[in-house]
Symmetry: C2
Amino acid sequence: MARPTIADIAERAGVSKGAVSFALNGRPGVSEETRRRILAVADEMNWRPHRAARSLGNSRAGAVGLILSRPARTLGLEPFFGQVVSGLQAGLAEDGTALQLLVVEDPEAEMAAYRNWTAEKRVDGFVLLDPLIDDPRFPALEALDVPVMVLGGPLPDTSLSYSWADDSEAMHEAVDYLAALGHRHVVHVAGMPQFLHTKRRMDVLTEAKARHELAEVVSIPTDYSDSEGAVITRRVLSRRERPTAIVYDSDVMAVAGLGVALEMGVRVPQDLSILSFDDSLLARLTHPALTALTRDTQGWATEAARELLRLIADPSLTVRHPSSTPVLVPRESTAPPAGH
Amino acid sequence: MARPTIADIAERAGVSKGAVSFALNGRPGVSEETRRRILAVADEMNWRPHRAARSLGNSRAGAVGLILSRPARTLGLEPFFGQVVSGLQAGLAEDGTALQLLVVEDPEAEMAAYRNWTAEKRVDGFVLLDPLIDDPRFPALEALDVPVMVLGGPLPDTSLSYSWADDSEAMHEAVDYLAALGHRHVVHVAGMPQFLHTKRRMDVLTEAKARHELAEVVSIPTDYSDSEGAVITRRVLSRRERPTAIVYDSDVMAVAGLGVALEMGVRVPQDLSILSFDDSLLARLTHPALTALTRDTQGWATEAARELLRLIADPSLTVRHPSSTPVLVPRESTAPPAGH
DNA sequence: CATTTGCGGGCTTTCTACGGC
DNA sequence: AGCCGTAGAAAGCCCGCAAAT
C-alpha cells in the first residue's frame, strides 16, 4: 500500500482535495464538523504532507544552508563547529526546518554554492560564519536577495542581518584581568587575520597597551591550527624577553601552546599565564585547566537560527541581534607573573 | 526578475518545454544544434532545476537523514560526531545529496522522526549510529522499507546494510600489546553497555584474560561522559590493588582519566598506562600524548555515505561493507609496568 | 528522427457555484 | 434580489517523461 495523499483522504472523507487542504492547515473554508471528520481520516491513514509537493506550491524549501569553506577535517577538530551545528539544528527543528550542511574547499566554491542553492530553491536562507573584512560574500548574497543571518558582527556597511556578541568587550575583560595580575608582556596568538573578529580583538589589544602602559603587546595571526599554535608558542617562549602571558584565539591552539610550555619546562601558571578566547571541554580537561572566555555558543546559534526563521517569514526585516558577551572564567592557567 | 524555469528557456530559445528538458538532461530527442542553443540559453539565464519540482517528479528527496538521540551538547563535545558528520557530508556531496541532521532527546523521538521523515518523503534514506543489542530501530526501519546504512557492525539478524570496522580485532591488538608490555591488571572503562560495540569489546577483554593469564580484567560501563570517566578512574586508582593499565572507550574519557591520574600523583606511563580506543586531536594534545587505537572515522563515514547512495539507487541491494580495522598508535602514555 | 503536447507528481490557493437566509 | 458561509473544481507550482505529431 502506497503513501496516502490528500486525494485519498478526500475520497475517504467524501469531500474535495481543497477541503482537505483547508482542514489540515487550519484555514477557514470548512465547517467545524467537516474539519473534524477530515482530520480523523487523515490521522487514521497516518498521512503526512509530502515535503517536495508542499515546497513546490508555496515556494518554501523548508531548509536553510550552512556552507563552510574550511578543510573538511576542521569540523572534527574544532569543537566550535559541532556546537554551532547542533545549536542551529535545535533552533531550526522547533519549526521543522532542516539544516543543510556543505563543506567546501575554497571561497569560490562557497560562493558558487550560495548561487546554486538559491537558484535551485534548495534552501530558504543561509547562515554565515566568520565574517571577513570586506567580505566578498556580503555583496554577493545581497544581490541574491536571500535571507541571511551572519554569526558574528557588528558588520559595517551591509544590509545583511547578524547576531553578534561583544568580543571587544570580552577581550577588554581579558586584558584588564591580565594587567591587574601584573602582566606587562602579553602575546596574542590570534586567528586568521582576514576575520573581522580577529581584527577586532587585535585592535583592543593595541589600544590596551597604551591604556595599561604595558611593555609589550603583540598579536600574531595564525590559521587556527594546533601546529601553528605550537610553533608560535615555541618561538615566543624562545625569545630572551619572554612574555609572561599568552592569549590564544582558540582553545585548540591554547592547549597546543600549553603542551609547548610543558615541553620547554616553562611552568604554567608560575612562569606563564595562558588564557583561551574560546572554551570547550578541551580547555577544562587539561592540567592545569585553562582560564577561558566562555560563552554559550550553542545557545547563540539557536537564537540566530530563530532569528533567521523570522527573517524568512518576513524578508523585509533586518535583524541586529545582540547576544551575551563572553565571560572570563578563571581556572588554573593564570596567575600573577613571577616577582609579583 | 524571478527565477527562470524551463518554460522561460523554451520561450527564449523558441522551442517547447519538452525539448528543453531533453536537452538539459542529455537525452535523445533533440538535434545537436538545438541542444547547443538550449544549453546556451539556459546557461545565460543561469538556470538550475528547482529541487522540489524535480523531487516531486522522480520521487527522490535528494537528502538523507542522520538522527541522533543524544544530549544536544554531545555534538560539540565528542569529536567523533563532527568527524562522522563531515565525512558523511563529503560522500553525499559528490552526488549533490544533502545531509539532514536531527538531534533528539530520546529514542522514542528518534523512532518518530524516522517514521515522519519517511512519510513526508523528506529523505531517501538514513544513516544509523551506535547499533544496540536487540536494537528496536532495526525492525522499525525494516518495516518502513527505506534504505538504511548502519555505521557499525557486524549486525546479527537484520536485513539492514552496514559498514563495519573490526573493533574486536582492534581490541585484541590493544590487549595483546598491554600484555606484551607486562601488564596483568587491566581496567576497561567502557562505553554504554547497550551499544553493540561496547559488548564486543568487553567480550574480547574477558576472553583475553584467559588467553594471557591476566590477573584482573574488568570492564566498567559508562555513559561516555568525561565526568564518569573521571569518577571511575578515581575509584579504580583508589583501590589497594591498582590496575597498571586502563583502556578507555573514548578519548574524552581517556583525557579525563589522565587528569585524575595527575591529580592523584599517579605517573603516566610509569605507574599507569593509558590507552584510548578512540583517537582525535584531543589524544594528541595531552601530555603525555595518549596511545590510541586510531582509525579514519571521516573516511569511514564517507565510504558509508557512498554505499548508502548505491543502496538508494538500487534498493534491492544489501551492503556489508568492511572498512579498515583501527590501528594501534603507540604514543607516550603506555609503558611496561613498574618492576618490568 | 526531431519536436511538441500533455500528463503526472502532491499540495496550495483562487475562483466559482451552491444552498439558505 | 443580495449576502453569507461552505464546498467543489480547477489552475498553478516546475520538472521529467511518455505519447502523439
